[in-house]
């Protein structure tokens, strides 16, 4: 039994690298995911993930399958969409969700156009679904750096971020840092999505941020508890997903996300706080 769990990681370097990469994304991405969830921006995270595609595609066109070029391209495209939609929402009558949707759709269309006219389908699959089993040293260093920067940044702006989510009106009244907080947070979202797409692909990267956060909601009530629960769920999903992909020959990115999906399903049903079973039990006790 233990052999089944550890042997693939002990025997193959690429499995260890994949695990390392997934843990880095889990540690950095899930706290951001928890705040996305608390700010009711879960779908905005998905939109941002799509927005990154053209940047990565342009990077790919210029420099081939280069980590640096695709990362910078993704960051630029993601930040451009985040800033433009934030700017439009603050200056015009359009709300942020609508302006974000508009910009990400434009961005996604450009991305698909570039990839399909200039690259092959294989390249598109790489960008969309990632290459977690082929992470090199540079990619691992990038993922770990992003995780470290995210943790430090979240620790630094924690109170501002909590207040920006819980009571934005009060934050704007007592401090001029409301907009700074918002855009720092968006930058963290973009950074983690760009890191995540190297491993899991643009579409799957947002899954490891949101699914553990949503599952954690049924296990913890405080913000700290949510973050810890989400990180644990994300790491456990990574291990199980990689093992499943190894033994059954499944694509690893979707496998990791699907395991996280299963954990979400279990939490939704039997988690101690507000799950289906919990509300039935409480109903019985009250009746």
């Amino acid at each position: 039994m233990w052999e089944l769990l550890f042997q693939p990681f002990a025997e193959f370097g690429f499995m260890r690298r994949a695990l390392m990469g997934c843990i880095a994304i889990s540690v950095g991405g899930t706290p951001v995911g928890v705040f996305l969830l608390l700010r009711r921006m879960s779908l905005a995270g998905d939109a941002m993930a799509h927005a990154i595609l053209p940047g990565a595609a342009v990077g790919f066109l210029i420099a081939g399958f280069s980590l640096g070029a695709m990362t910078i391209g993704g960051l630029v495209a993601g930040m451009a969409v985040a800033l433009l939609s934030g700017f439009v929402a603050r200056v015009t009558a359009l709300r942020e969700d609508a302006s974000l949707a508009a910009f990400y759709l434009i961005s996604l269309a450009i991305g698909v156009l570039i990839v399909s006219t200039r690259g092959s389908n294989v390249d598109l699959m790489h960008v969309l679904f990632g290459t977690v089993l082929a992470l090199d040293n540079a990619a691992l260093i990038l993922l770990c750096s992003i995780a470290s920067i995210t943790l430090i940044a979240v620790a630094l702006i924690f109170r501002l971020l909590v207040l920006e989510c819980a009571d934005p009106q009060f934050l704007r009244a007592v401090s001029g840092l409301s907009a700074v907080t918002h855009f720092t947070f968006l930058a963290l979202v973009v950074m983690n999505l760009v890191g995540g797409f190297h491993a899991l692909g643009t579409l799957m990267a947002v899954g490891i941020m949101i699914l553990p956060a949503a599952a954690a909601r049924f296990w913890a009530t405080s913000i700290g508890g949510l973050i810890v629960a989400a990180v644990i769920i994300a790491i456990a999903s990574s291990v199980c997903g990689l093992l499943a992909s190894y033994y059954f020959g499944l694509p690893s990115g979707p496998a990791v996300i699907l395991v996280a999906g299963v954990v979400y399903g279990i939490s939704l049903t039997v988690g101690p706080l507000g799950s289906l079973v919990a509300s039935v039990v409480r109903h019985r006790i009250n009746a």
């Binding site: 109170r159 909590v162 989510c165 009571d167 009106q169 009060f170 009244a173 840092l177 009530t221 405080s222």
Partner: protein, 246 residues
């Protein structure tokens, strides 16, 4: 008489529609003023103008003994996400913002003051409860505790007692009296004429334009209330429709 703030030809509004029109007057330092008037009279708009959330279309709010960064403001409908997982203690503690800011930790003295504020509004024992589990009245108590910690010279309350149980209202009026006793300037938008007569020495009656401003007994008369309603009804349309210069 020293004034806390003065309105000078103050016109506030949204787009080109004035909600407060050419208001003049002074609010005395340390006074306890109720702002009353019919719906749509510009009462909330006036408070937003004082906080600076809304820029004047014309005129200005001039600050005397108070400054704009020393205001504690309780909005009518707060944007607070009641389902957010934050405890009563944490919500109240951010009232210390001017001292701890976004980055500094709370020291023992701060914790003691948070405790004191929570007990002053009668919420002792609720410190670690998530705000989502509070009733409307309890939540309003928590917001008052936060206002207490803000320790501001000027306190603005926008309909603080709407949809609140009588016991909570009595307790929170006690907090308002405490601020008044400490020499702070308090301006509250209220609907309940009985509470205004009983607890607020000064009243400012508004119906887009100023109706009356002064001691409550002289302002809160049947004649003034009737005139305020008439003025508001006449002003439902654009300003030029009610026969006054736009």
């Amino acid at each position: 008489m020293t004034y806390a703030l003065a309105f000078e030809n103050l016109t506030l509004g949204y787009g080109h529609h004035p909600a407060v029109h050419r208001l003049d007057g002074e609010v005395a330092d340390g006074s306890l003023t109720a702002v009353v008037g019919p719906n749509g009279a510009g009462k909330s708009t006036l408070l937003k103008g004082v906080t600076g959330v809304l820029r004047p279309l014309a005129g200005q709010v001039r600050f005397g003994t108070c400054t704009r960064d020393n205001i504690a403001y309780l909005p009518q409908q707060s944007d607070i996400d009641r389902s957010f997982p934050i405890s009563v203690c944490d919500l109240v503690a951010v009232g210390l913002w001017s001292e701890i800011g976004g980055f500094f930790g709370l020291r023992a003295a701060h914790h003691a003051r948070v405790e004191e504020a929570i007990s002053a509004v009668g919420l002792t024992g609720f410190e670690s409860r998530p705000i989502g589990s509070l009733s409307g009245g309890q939540f309003q108590r928590a917001l008052f505790a936060r206002l207490l910690l803000q320790d501001a010279q000027l306190v603005l309350l926008d309909e603080p007692f709407t949809a609140i149980d009588p016991k909570t209202m009595v307790d929170l009026l006690g907090v308002v009296q405490r601020w008044h006793g400490e020499g702070r300037t308090v301006i509250a938008v209220l609907h309940d004429a009985g509470a205004v007569r009983a607890h607020f020495p000064e009243t400012l009656m508004l119906a887009r334009d100023l109706v009356a401003h002064g001691p409550t007994a002289k302002v809160l008369t049947a004649a003034n209330q009737f005139r305020a309603r008439q003025m508001c009804e006449a002003c439902v349309g654009p300003p030029h429709d009610c026969g006054r210069p736009a």
